[in-house]
Every structure is written in structure tokens, then in C-alpha cells.
Symmetry: C2
Subunit: 365 residues, 2 copies
């Protein structure tokens, strides 16, 4: 509590004002203002006296005053998605904490606002730009971090047109990228899952993904397909699709089970559907058929068998977003920057057991 009792704010919570600093230093308020904004105008002795008073009183310039002076709010807008948006959103708190922590360190704060559900909105929908407009007109924020970007997302175009700095968590997946983004390399993650399964002796490795057309889903499918080709394995009849729902995935998987020894999936929810299809067939996930998920959701470690899953470095994404955004604010004309972060496969019981057809255990590596 030492910090609390010694900290500023004056008695009874009254804020320390410029006038109070002036009084303490025995100068005019204009002189205090000069000391803050144009210190070169003051005699060294006067400047020292004012700085001493500022330190003694622990004076912090009023944020709104600074904001008016600099024409910047030092706030970064972030629209929080509705929980029921139907996406398999991984837990956000790691991302949000890293985002606000990095922003704090760079002298910014995150301004949160509620994003309407935009996913799946038609081309004529205003989906998601209303609040952006309002925040810009109020000059409440200097910049935005976007998440949940998707094909046809109107936000990047809007912000680009207005000359407002932004960074997206997630590629725009459109023909031309209009700005900075940070994303996780989904293809790298599913390829890592294939490599892991091939090393354990699997050859018939299916991919259970979402229906074609979603940027991140197609990307995850590509990682599996390219890794299979690299290992000279056939992908024929092994690409399966289901919406992101346990029972739908179970139905899809049930029909496809014969003849596969492992399944790479595009989400932990789809992996769960695989578990159920295996149980329905009297088979054991991890023992009879290996399964990998994607997202490393909290459930993954808790399942029985625990689920191997591709882990997204969400805290690193948060930090990288702020890094790009601060560069963009300082240098609006620079070429767009993109950061693709590598996820990592967390190996657990669902893929730990060697395939019966695999190479014998030994000191190969």
C-alpha cells in the first residue's frame, strides 16, 4: 500500500492542477505551461523550480488538455465481438491482456466498444462500421485494432479511406491487402500436425475442416495438403468438411472413418466430433486413431484422452499488433507491414501413440 499513500492526487482526491504547481513554484500558470511544452523559453533556474514543484506534487497534465494540445487522444479502439458470433473464438483474455499491457507501455490505452455481429452480413450491410464512424467523428481514438476480420469486411477499407491507422489481427483475405496485420500461420500449424503424425508412422491422414470459403479454414486445409504432398502421401478422398459443431463433425467423420489412421482437424470442436465418431465405432481416440485439434482451447488439456492441438501465440499477437500500430501512427506513409506468427503443436495423448504400421521405435533421432 506504500504506493497508494505516497501517490499524488492531492487531499481528498482533489487533482493536482497547473495552478497548484504554479503557486508552489512561485510562477505564473503560463510559465508552468511553458515548462511543459516549450522548456527552452525559460531561464534554467525557473525551469528547475517548476520541475521541482511538479515532482513534489506529482503533477500529471490532464489527459484531455494534453489531448487537445496534441490533437491526439492516445487511445486505441478495439471492438469486442459478441460471444455468440458462432466462431470458435479461443479465450480472449490472453490477447486482451497483452494488447493493453503493450499499449500501456507505449503510452496508449485501449478503448473498448461493443462490435455488432458482422460475420456473414451481406454486402449491403453496414455491419460493424457504425461505431467506428462515431469514434472517429468524436476524435475519441487515434487508431484501431481490428479482430474477427473476414472476407468482405468493410472496416479496413473505411479506415484506409479516412487515413486512420489500424492493424488487424487476421489477414483481410481479400485480393489486395490494404493495411498492416498480424496473423497466425494456420497452414504452418496443420503442416506441423501432419509432420508429427507421419513421424509416428501414419500414412492415411485425413483432414476435417470447415466448408470451403473461409480464409482461415482454407489456409489450414492448405497446410495439411502441402505437407501430405511433401511426404508423398495421397490426399485423395481424405479432405472432409463440416460446420464447426460437434454433432455435425461426428456425422461427417463417422462416414469417413474406415481406412484412416489419423485425423488433423481445423478446430478443437471438430476434433471432439472425431472423438465421438470413434467412440460410436467402438474405437479409442489416441489408441486406434490419432486426432489433432486446433486452438488449444482450455478444454483440450481436460479431455480424455487429452487432445493434441495447435496452440496460437495470442499474447505475442497482441504485442505485435501494438508494435505495428505505434509504427504506423509515427510513420503513416510507410509501406504496409505484415507479421505471420508460427503456432506450435502441443502434443498430448490423442496423438501420442505410435501407429501400428509405423517404423519400429529406435534411436533414429
Amino acid at each position: 500500500m506504500a504506493r497508494t499513500s505516497s501517490s499524488g492526487g492531492g487531499k481528498a482526491g482533489r487533482p493536482v492542477t497547473l495552478a497548484l504547481v504554479a503557486q508552489r513554484a512561485g510562477v505564473s500558470t503560463q510559465t508552468v505551461s511553458n515548462a511543459l511544452n516549450s522548456p527552452e523559453l525559460l531561464a534554467p533556474g525557473t525551469l528547475a523550480r517548476v520541475q521541482e514543484a511538479i515532482a513534489e506534487l506529482d503533477y500529471r497534465p490532464h489527459r484531455a488538455a494534453r489531448s487537445l494540445r496534441t490533437r491526439s487522444s492516445l487511445l486505441i479502439g478495439y471492438g469486442v465481438q459478441p460471444a455468440s458470433s458462432g466462431r470458435s473464438t479461443p479465450v480472449l483474455d490472453g490477447f486482451l491482456h497483452a494488447l493493453s499491457d503493450s499499449a500501456d507501455r507505449a503510452g496508449y490505452r485501449i478503448l473498448l466498444f461493443a462490435e455488432p455481429a458482422a460475420e456473414g452480413a451481406g454486402p449491403s450491410a453496414t455491419g460493424g462500421t457504425g461505431d467506428y464512424d462515431e469514434l472517429l467523428r468524436e476524435q475519441s481514438v487515434d487508431a484501431f485494432v481490428l479482430s474477427g476480420t473476414h472476407r468482405g469486411d468493410p472496416r479496413p477499407g473505411l479506415l484506409h479511406k479516412r487515413g486512420v491507422p489500424f492493424v488487424a489481427f487476421g489477414r483481410s483475405w481479400s485480393a489486395r491487402d490494404t493495411g498492416d496485420w498480424v496473423d497466425v500461420d494456420g497452414a504452418y500449424g496443420t503442416a506441423a500436425a501432419v509432420d508429427h503424425l507421419v513421424a509416428a508412422g501414419h500414412r492415411r491422414i485425413a483432414f476435417l475442416g470447415w466448408p470451403r470459403g473461409s480464409g482461415s479454414g482454407d489456409d489450414r486445409a492448405r497446410g495439411w495438403r502441402e505437407a501430405m504432398r511433401r511426404h508423398r502421401l495421397s490426399v485423395r478422398d481424405l479432405r472432409l468438411s463440416s460446420v464447426d459443431d460437434v454433432d455435425a463433425a461426428r456425422d461427417t467423420m463417422r462416414r469417413a472413418l474406415p481406412g484412416v489412421t489419423a485425423v488433423v482437424t481445423a478446430s478443437d470442436t471438430l476434433a471432439l466430433g472425431c472423438y465421438r465418431a470413434l467412440w460410436d465405432a467402438g474405437l479409442s481416440p489416441g489408441e486406434d486413431v490419432a486426432v489433432t485439434g486446433f486452438d488449444d482451447s482450455p478444454a483440450a488439456a481436460l479431455l480424455s484422452p487429452s487432445l493434441s492441438s495447435v496452440h496460437q501465440p495470442l499474447e505475442e499477437v497482441g504485442r505485435a499488433c501494438i508494435r505495428l500500430l505505434v509504427s504506423r501512427i509515427r510513420n503513416p506513409g510507410a509501406a504496409p507491414e505484415q507479421i505471420l506468427l508460427e503456432p506450435s503443436l502441443v502434443v498430448r495423448d490423442s496423438s501420442a501413440v505410435r501407429s501400428a504400421g509405423g517404423p519400429a521405435p529406435g534411436p533414429q533421432r
Copy 2:
């Protein structure tokens, strides 16, 4: 996109200023300022002309200017907890979305900042108040929403002392409550689980909770105990404790299994530990022993068997927090208000099967 193209902001993203409004209306900037702040000073014709120019240009007063004028930032601070704080935090996005949506409707915005891990900090720790101090000194926020409150939490006392409005998600659990809070009635939730299990014929219903001393944990234990007494059932040797970890819960439960037909737990993680202990003993959760969880985490519905769990109304909590906070800002002297929301038991397969010793099925209800 209609809203986008017709909205203000001027050409090339240049904001509409007071000066531009004055020019359009053919008046001085002071007159525009008066029209906004003291319209009674103006002649009706002049006022109408200024208002017309404001509407035509879609002028919004600069947020910082309004903030300086009103000495309020219209921002509410919310500290986001680190992801690895060790608590079984339910997914936050429902709460955060409701919080920012309600704030938006009330004319406020949520300012996010990174909270250091405060839980478990000793009495001399400054844990968690540093950022609060700084935001107050900058006058960046008008009020705070606190979450993750715990015994010995220094934040409510600090804010109370400074006269800063705040509302906590979670009781302070201290001898005297120093402010407004919204919480979920944990005891109600575990009592509902007991009622549900008793109705299914269970009599030996254990409680697996956290070690004594945590506010919410003790509250959930109380709900179980009182409901058991209400049903005239013994609680002797049926209160079990484990830290919130699957394997620790499994060990605790394994020793306690003989003689119980149902287990009410204080978290979904503890319930998972029960599942494992049952499997270790060759028993089936939901068939041989009923299990209920708490939090209704995304994993609950995905488990096999799916886990009955107490669902917390997080969106309602978010809305209630803003409602109390806005009342507090408007009426700082009013008596503290507290809202305790009822959670609901979501019944799934882990508790759906009737106990062997229960009453015969029939048209009782």
C-alpha cells in the same frame, strides 16, 4: 455502406471543427460555443442558423474539448486480468461485450488496461493499484469496473478513499462492504444442483470444493450444505477439498468415492477430476455416479458425458455493472447498491440418469 459515405468527418478524413461550423453559419466561434453550451444566450434566429450548420456538417464536439469543459472523460476503466492468473476464469467475451454495449448506450466508453496479477499478493503488496493511481492522476477515467475482487483487495478501499465511483463484479468478501457490486449467487447455484440430484433420488451427495478461505468457494460450499440440511440429508464426511486442478481433484475424489452416488463441484475443472477418478475406478460418470460442475465453461457441453453445470449470467452481470455505475456517477451520495444474480443449472448427461435408489419414475410432476 450508406452510413459510411454519408457520415461526417469532412473531406479526406479532416474533422469538422467549431471554426468550420462558425464559417458556415456566418457567426463567430464564440457564438457556436454558446449555441452548444449556453443556447439561452443566443437570439432564436442565430441559434437556429448554428444548429442548421451543425446538422449539415454533422459536427460532433471534440471529445477532449467536451471532456475539459465538463471535467469528465466519459470513460470507465476496466483492468483485464492476466490469463495465467490461476483462476478458473470463465470466458470473458460475453461479459466484456455486454459491458461495453451497455456503456455505449449510456454515453460512456470502456478504457481497458492491463491488470497485474493481484490474487495471493501479501498485505504489503501494491498489487493492482498502480494503474488505478495513474489513470486517476491523468483524469483519464471517471469511474471503474473491478473484476477478480478477493479478500484483502486494496482497490475498493483506494477508490472509496479517493471518492471515485466504482462497481465490482464480485463481492468484496470483507467485513464491511465499501461500495456497489454485482455478483452471481454461487450458493444458489450449488443448492440448485443438490435439489436436482435429490429429485433424481440421490441421498449421498458429496461436495468437492476449494480449500476453505476463498469467498466464492466458501459460498458455493454453503449452498450445498444448506440444501442438504433442508432435505434432511447428512453432510458428514461429504465435504471434500482440492485446489482447482484436474489431477489434484482426481486424487481427492478417488479416496472419497465409495459410498457417494453424486458429487456437486465448485468448478468444471474439479468436475473433470471427478470424471477421471470414476474412470480409474471402472465407473461411468452420469451412469454410476452423477456429477455437476460450475461455470458452464465451453468444455462442459463438449465432454463425454456432457457435464451438467451451473451457468453464470455474465452478460446480465455486465449490464448490471454499468447500470449501478451510471447511477453512482449521477448520485455519488446514495447508499451502496448490491445486485445478486441467480445462476441456472444446465442439466446434461452427467446428471441425467436417475439414481438406482431413487423413487420410481411416474407422473409425480
